[in-house]
Amino acid sequence: MSEMTKPRPKYLALHEIRLPLAGYASILHRVSGAGLFLMLPLLIWLLQLSLGSGHENAALFSTVTGNILVKLILLGLLWAFLHHFCMGIRILLIDIHVGVEKQQAHTSAVAVMVVSLALTLIFGLKLLGVY
C-alpha cells in the first residue's frame, strides 16, 4: 500500500454481541475445560489422599474436603465436569450429523444446560454429604 492509513478499529465488544444459547453453551464448554485443566493438580492430590493408606492421609483428606471453600471449588468443578461432559456428547452427536439443524441445535443446547445443572444438583448433594 502506498498510502499510510490509520489503524482501523475493530468492533468486537463481546458483551454487546448477542449469541444464540448454543453459543453460550459452547463458551462454557471451553471455560469449564480450562477450569478443569487448571484444577487438575487439586483433583489428583485429593485422589492421592483418598487412596493413600494410613491415618495422616485420611485425616488430611477429611480436613481438606471439610473446608467450605474447597467444597465450593469442588462443586464448581463438578458442574464444570458435567457441563463439559454433556456438551461433549452434544458435540459428538453433531459430529455424526445428529442435530445439526438450527432448531435442533438450540433444543440440544437447552438440554445440555438443564441436564448438566440437574446432574450437578444430584451429585452435588452427594458431595456435600446430604445423602
Binding site: A34, L36, F37, S50, L51, F85, K126
Partner: protein, 115 residues
C-alpha cells in the same frame, strides 16, 4: 515479513484423538457416577477395595491417559486462539505438555501403588 504458518497436517489426527478420548472418558464417567450412586464412596475401605479392582484400575489408567491427551488438544487450541506471539505460545505449549505428562505420571502411580 510476517509468515503465516499453515499447512500442517495434524488437524484430522488431533480432532479424531479428541473424539476417541472423549468417548472413553464419557464411558468411564458413566461407570463412576453409577458406582458413586451405588455407594462406593460410602467408606474409605469400600472405596479402596473398589479402586483396587483390576478392571477398575485398568479403565482408570485409560481414563487418565485419555484425559491428558484430550486436555492437551483442548488447551493447545485455547493457546492457539488467544496467544498470538509465537514464542510465548510455544512456551505455553511446552509448559502445558510438561504439566500434563507430569499429572499423568503422578495419577498413574497413585493407581499403581494401590495394594
Amino acid at each position: 515479513m510476517k509468515r503465516l504458518v499453515v499447512g500442517a497436517h495434524y488437524g484430522l489426527m488431533d480432532w479424531l484423538a479428541q473424539r476417541i478420548t472423549a468417548i472413553i472418558m464419557a464411558a468411564y464417567t458413566v461407570i463412576m457416577f453409577a458406582a458413586t450412586l451405588g455407594g462406593v464412596t460410602g467408606s474409605r475401605e469400600v472405596w479402596h477395595a473398589f479402586m483396587a479392582n483390576g478392571f477398575i484400575r485398568f479403565i482408570t489408567f485409560l481414563f487418565i491417559i485419555s484425559l491428558c491427551y484430550h486436555a492437551w488438544v483442548g488447551v493447545r487450541d485455547i493457546w492457539m486462539d488467544y496467544v498470538k506471539p509465537a514464542t510465548i505460545r510455544v512456551t505455553l505449549h511446552v509448559l502445558t505438555l510438561l504439566a500434563l505428562v507430569g499429572y499423568a505420571g503422578w495419577a498413574v502411580q497413585i493407581i499403581w501403588r494401590l495394594p
